[in-house]
């Protein structure tokens, strides 16, 4: 029965409400269990795969990981890896992707929101199609361009070329959605604000910069966060485009579990790497909860 359903309260109460909450908990168990296995294992001397596994709490994995001693079972015949470099590389790619996405999407989203031009609605449809485009067909062509241009890059600059290319190529995948999300934010800003600036003799660019941008900060933050996480999480592009010695956290984990590496892999240390790698995602998640959910539904719907 519907007794006690007031404004703002849950639509289902009593036993039924509890049943639903428990059913959701049961369905969520695999998610909860796998994530806690990862985090617990990083602080344990074995894989903490189930509640009854006996383990000893230790920070040894984190020490080994941060010192780059990634395969302790391999003994003395091996050199530590530069983990800070891997973390830095991951950050460079993520930061680079963020900058490129913002640079290419802010002015375009403004134009789509405020100007009428040839093929405007056609271009907006095209962006939606591109967002869903078979990425695997693109990456073959993009890599062909990469190899072709690489012939003209002096060997000394080759590593910069790889990084810049991977950043721009990865950022391009995020641009269609970024423009749609930002356009939604621009659409909500009253046009009269810019009009005042333009009447006073300012250009469109001045109007955008002084009157509009301050009001769409949440949108820019949302797009920046999505772009950062996209660059941060990328495995495929980094694996394909960067030379094997320039690892990110993703390709480091991949190299530990990929074929032929299992002989020396020590899984608790990999868990420390995975946990560290997950931290920025979790932070953004906790800080931006509602913005994240709202932007996702807004962005996804167009």
């Amino acid at each position: 029965m519907g007794e006690g359903i007031g404004e703002g309260g849950p639509l289902v109460r009593g036993t039924m409400g509890i049943v639903i909450i428990l059913a959701l908990l049961l369905a969520s168990l695999p998610i909860i269990m796998t994530y806690s296995t990862l985090v617990m294992t990083s602080f344990a001397n074995t894989i903490v795969s189930s509640p009854w596994v006996k383990f000893r709490f230790t920070l040894e994995n984190w020490r080994l990981f941060l010192e780059g001693k990634l395969a302790p079972t391999a003994g003395i015949v091996y050199t530590p890896e530069d983990i800070l470099r891997f973390i830095l590389n991951t950050g460079i790619v993520a930061g680079g992707v963020t900058l490129v996405v913002l640079a290419a999407s802010v002015t375009s989203a403004y134009a789509f929101s405020r100007m009428n031009f040839f093929m405007r609605s056609g271009m907006m449809k095209l962006l939606i199609l591109l967002h869903a485009f078979p990425g695997v067909a693109l990456i073959v062509g993009v890599y062909a361009i990469y190899v072709f241009l690489n012939n003209y890059i002096p060997r000394d600059y080759s590593i910069y070329y790889s990084f810049i290319f991977v950043i721009i190529a990865r950022a391009s995948l995020e641009i269609p959605m970024a423009i749609w999300i930002l356009k939604g934010f621009f659409d909500r800003v009253p046009w009269e604000l810019e009009w005042a600036t333009i009447v006073d003799g300012g250009s469109r660019l001045t109007a955008l910069r002084t009157a509009v941008l301050p009001l769409v900060k949440p949108g820019i933050a949302a797009v920046a966060i999505f772009a950062f996480l996209a660059g941060w999480e990328d495995l495929i592009y980094v694996l394909v485009f960067l030379p094997p010695q320039e690892k990110t956290l993703a390709t480091y984990i991949e190299s530990q579990l990929g074929s032929g590496s299992l002989e020396t892999t020590y899984l608790p240390v990999v868990a420390a790497a995975g946990t560290l790698y997950l931290i920025p995602t979790i932070i953004f998640f906790v800080v931006t909860q509602r913005l994240l959910l709202e932007t996702m539904s807004g962005g996804l719907k167009g």
Partner: protein, 313 residues
């Protein structure tokens, strides 16, 4: 008019450059490569050799006679159909349940289910690597050993005795966990637009929870269901990254874990490095993808959604 056009062009230029360089040009190149014998990325020598339709003919023969490629095609079909079902129905169930309960608890669950989508690919793969690990420490083995269902640890995704079903179950399950949040978010935000009075009135009239779901919630999102189905279909046919990790780390069998999209990727970059052939398969994917994409735009009645710009001077 010319001045206005130039102004718009100026604002759009960064986006246009990237779209041309990283979507349109690569697409043309991929189509081009599909008519060349390109292998090992010998772009300079082989990009102007033409072999006509040879790659497409090879694809046809592989589809007819190659047992491994048959596994790939079967896996693609099973993977797309089952994961699509999970994503749409699971997303709808999650949206309904989280809509009905207390807002704070609901927010927690929705965030929890969004977590797999936001988790870095390598970490998400790692989670399932531990879960399906073939030794006694693997989560699934550990549970089943404890309960006495199995006597010794199983290699879940690769044991020939359980193929192909175990590998299919794993890829569908792992991808489903990422995929359901899409439907959940779309359906949930549609529910949020329903006036609360409508549901409260139905409850006061004595409607049971099940009747509210059946007669109010589901009918309201019927167009959303069609949209999510087509969009997810498109995305499942073309996605390969999660499968790449599962196959690369031997969580699942190589062929029963490989769909056509992953086959294209591995053929171009890892296995035989035959880009001409991979490109031909990619072109087939693009054709399927474009048809589905255009279909989605139709379903969304997209032209009506694009509002005219404000402030055009």
């Amino acid at each position: 008019m010319a001045r206005r056009g130039r102004q718009a062009l100026f604002f759009l230029l960064p986006m246009l450059i990237l779209v041309v360089a990283f979507y349109i040009l690569p697409l043309v190149l991929t189509a081009w490569i599909s008519f060349t014998p390109l292998t090992n990325w010998r772009v300079r020598d082989q990009l102007v050799d033409f072999v006509g339709l040879e790659n497409y003919v090879n694809l046809y023969y592989l589809a007819r006679y190659d047992p491994d490629f048959h596994k790939v095609l079967q896996t693609t079909l099973v993977f797309v159909v089952l994961t699509l079902f999970i994503n749409v129905v699971g997303g709808l169930v999650l949206a309904i349940l989280t809509y009905l309960i207390d807002e704070r608890i609901s927010l927690g669950y929705r965030l929890l289910w969004l977590l797999p989508r936001m988790t870095p690919l390598a970490v998400f793969g790692l989670l399932w690597y531990y879960f399906f690990y073939g030794g006694p420490q693997g989560t699934l083995n550990s549970f089943f050993l404890k309960m006495g269902i199995i006597d010794e640890p199983m290699r879940w995704g690769t044991d020939p005795a359980m193929l192909p079903y175990s590998a299919w179950a794993i890829i569908v399950f792992v991808n489903g966990l990422v995929g359901v949040s899409y439907g959940m978010i779309i359906f949930y935000s549609a529910f949020k637009n329903i006036p609360r009075e409508l549901i409260i009135a139905a409850r006061v009239d004595g409607a049971k929870t099940w009747e509210v779901i059946r007669h109010i919630l589901v009918p309201i999102v019927r167009w959303h269901i069609v949209f999510v189905t087509v969009w997810q279909l498109l995305s499942l046919i073309t996605s390969y990254t999660h499968l790449f990790v599962l196959v690369q780390w031997s969580v699942v069998d190589k062929w029963y874990g490989t769909t056509l999209a992953l086959y294209v990727f591995n053929t171009a970059f890892f296995d035989v490095k035959n880009q001409g052939f991979a490109a031909a398969a990619a072109v087939i994917l693009v054709i399927i993808g474009s048809i589905l994409g255009l279909l989605t735009l139709r379903i969304m009645r997209f032209s009506q959604m694009i509002s005219p710009p404000r402030g055009d001077i």
